[in-house]
Amino acid sequence: MNRTAYTNARLFDPANGLDETGALLVEDGKIADLGASLFSGGVPQDMETVDCGGKLLTPGLIDMRVFTGEPGTEFRETLGSASQSAAAGGITTIIVMPNTDPVIDDVALVDFIERRARDTAIVNVHPMAALTRGCAGEQMTEIGLLKDAGAVAFTDGDKPLSDPLVMRRALSYAHFFDALIVQHAEDRDLAAGGVMNEGELASRLGLTGRPSAAETIMIERDLRLVELTGARYHVAQVTCKASVDIIRRAKQNGLPVTCGVSAPHLTLNENDVASYRSFMKLSPPLRHEDDRLAVVEGVADGTIDVIVSSHDPQDPETKRLPFAQAAYGAVGLETLLPATLSLVHGGTLALERAIEALTTSPASLLGLKSGHLTKGSPADLTLIDMNVPWVLDPEKLKSKSKNTPYDERRLQGRAIRTIVGGKEVHVSGGK
């Protein structure tokens, strides 16, 4: 029997309202027991023991928006390298997007992702399948068969599903299967040509703006369709104040709607683009500071359910270009936790909400067994040093791509141990 005792840990689990110092026993990949009184009389001799030094032991983090390059563009990222990066960031489960080459829109491709993940990844990997074939926005995919094969949700990834009739039918069809539909909410026509947030700064820089209305119009439209169909609908990333208000109202009206926000949108704003930094070029774009404050508040009050990395590895050739021509996206697996903790340290986000948005919320949205510290559930755990200061060195990132917007940034707090199914996949000194 494989048994490990984690002692002297601050057991922290928003799902169970748990915040106490105690121990946790991992047995054969599962949480066998936990609590303040566990091992109060000492740990048995035959057991491997990890002294957590009073650090935070939380459910393993779940990142429900990760792009990789496998299959198709493995030079950017493989499932294996993404999992290494996730483990280093304290993430025990990644949900990979279907925008690969080929697009994950067929049962055989879901099987491929699962097999490659089993053989090469050190964290849990679940695919979201495409909502439409080839993510082309025209024909819905086999939602029933794909869900049975293991797809945890359905999305066209970084592409919005524009056609309202296709969206309506997809929502309507998905309802029977209780499938979660995830939308990248941006009206492509309205955002056409835009490369950064529309506003004064874009005008000064001479760059074409993408208005936040492109996001709100799409969300408003989709909510009408959710009202018609009753399907579960999730906005992958909300980035502006108006979107937060819309979702808050929809939730008050009882619609089955949820949403996420990326760590960069919580911690950076359009001013970071200044001097045309293409690593700050995201989709949707970094917004005005007022919008950033509104999304932070949205996470704090529960309007925004989950925080994601939106990890999108890009090689230097696609980023070292004039801003307008550079690719969108930033790597984020290793900065998801420290970026979120910066809000906790700054006093704008409670620790409980932060951890909930990184664990319990995505788990319940996606129907995963993990995401909480409960006897019998998988031993997916993250040990966090809340306070350790460090400077991000892009060369030390485990990801194959180094396009991080937090280049050289001073950060506080990181994962010092990552445990997946009872197995330690990342250990750092926490220095």
């Binding site: 024909q139 819905m140 086999e142 039918r169 309507s172």
Partner: protein
């Protein structure tokens, strides 16, 4: 003196058969009773009758049809009528003739009965307003297909002895189906309990207000039913617009023995045809001699159409109106 004066309570007090809507329980029962007799006649060596002798029947089909058109043709001929088939090709529509022009042209040829199929809902009713004879609807758009509902009812009544109290599940593409609409109406009038089972994308909005119980899950909807009516899923609706694929449709919404388990052990399986084997129905189920009555439905079709033609013809004037043709 007209025939209606001679017969103050006609068997079927309607000039046209446009839909099940507007028919009474008595109307339907009369047609089914009449059809029962024609089933017997059709099983004789000499199948020819003469109640429509001298009458002209035009089968006007704006939409391609094999079985309905031949069924109506045979029905008319067995009753002694002169039957003419007109398939209005798309080319003559391209020539610019409107539906009403076609109707008035035909009307000038003095037909007694016109059987019409048209791709647009409401087209048959429009045509019926422009002609002097009786019109039978052989299917209009997604609206009604009354003789199909009547032949289904006849099939059930002959097998089960009654319609009242039967639980009937209609499964598949309800949204585009005129067969479903006519059957829902008829079965409700006759006191049967009707369920519809389909993916939400193939259910019309507000269907629950038409007197049906709505299900998305076959194994829930088929529980303890007496009759399973499968509908044809048209190919152009399979590939991603309403349902993702044929294989997914068959997996979750196709009728196979596994899903049929929850129905009553003596539940009948029906299909208006033509079938897509392996799409909405498993081949073995469709051919199950103990359960499937699909071929019987075709036989009932001829008898029901004879009954409908006969009943309408009884209301036609038997004498030339005064001054007519002068």
């Amino acid at each position: 003196m007209t025939s209606s004066d001679a017969n103050p309570t006609p068997l079927f007090p309607h000039r046209h058969l446009i839909g099940i809507e507007g028919l009474s329980q008595a109307d339907i029962t009369s047609l089914l009773d009449l059809a029962d007799g024609y089933v017997d006649q059709n099983r004789q060596i000499n199948k020819k009758g003469d109640v429509l002798r001298g009458r002209t029947q035009i089968n006007l089909f704006f939409e391609a049809s094999t079985r309905t058109q031949s069924s109506f043709e045979l029905a008319g001929k067995r009753l002694g009528a002169d039957v003419m088939n007109m398939s209005v090709s798309s080319s003559s529509i391209k020539k610019g003739e409107t539906l009403i022009d076609t109707a008035t042209t035909l009307n000038a040829m003095h037909p007694d009965l016109i059987v019409v199929r048209h791709g647009d809902s409401g087209a048959v009713e429009l045509l019926s307003q422009k002609v002097g004879c009786s019109v039978l609807n052989a299917g209009d758009g997604s609206h009604e297909h009354p003789t199909q509902a009547l032949l289904d009812a006849l099939t059930i009544r002959r097998r089960k002895g009654r319609l009242e109290g039967m639980t009937v599940a209609i499964c598949g593409d309800i949204l585009h189906s005129r067969v479903a609409r006519s059957n829902i109406l008829l079965l409700n009038i006759m006191g049967a309990r009707v369920r519809v089972i389909a993916p939400k994308t193939l259910l019309p909005i507000g269907i629950e207000r038409l007197g049906v119980e709505v299900f998305n899950d076959m194994t829930e909807g088929l529980k303890d039913v007496d009759i399973v009516m499968m509908l044809r899923l048209q190919l152009e609706r399979m590939h991603g617009s309403f349902v993702p694929s044929v294989r997914e449709y068959f997996r979750y919404f196709g009728l196979d023995y596994e899903k049929l388990k929850v129905a009553k052990p003596d539940a009948l399986i029906m299909h208006p045809g033509p079938m897509n084997r392996g799409v909405e129905i498993d081949s073995a189920v469709a051919d199950d001699i103990n359960r499937s009555v699909i071929r019987e439905q075709v036989e009932m079709g001829v008898a029901v159409r004879m009954a409908a033609l006969d009943a309408l013809a009884r209301n036609l004037p038997n004498e030339q109106p005064a001054g007519y043709g002068a």
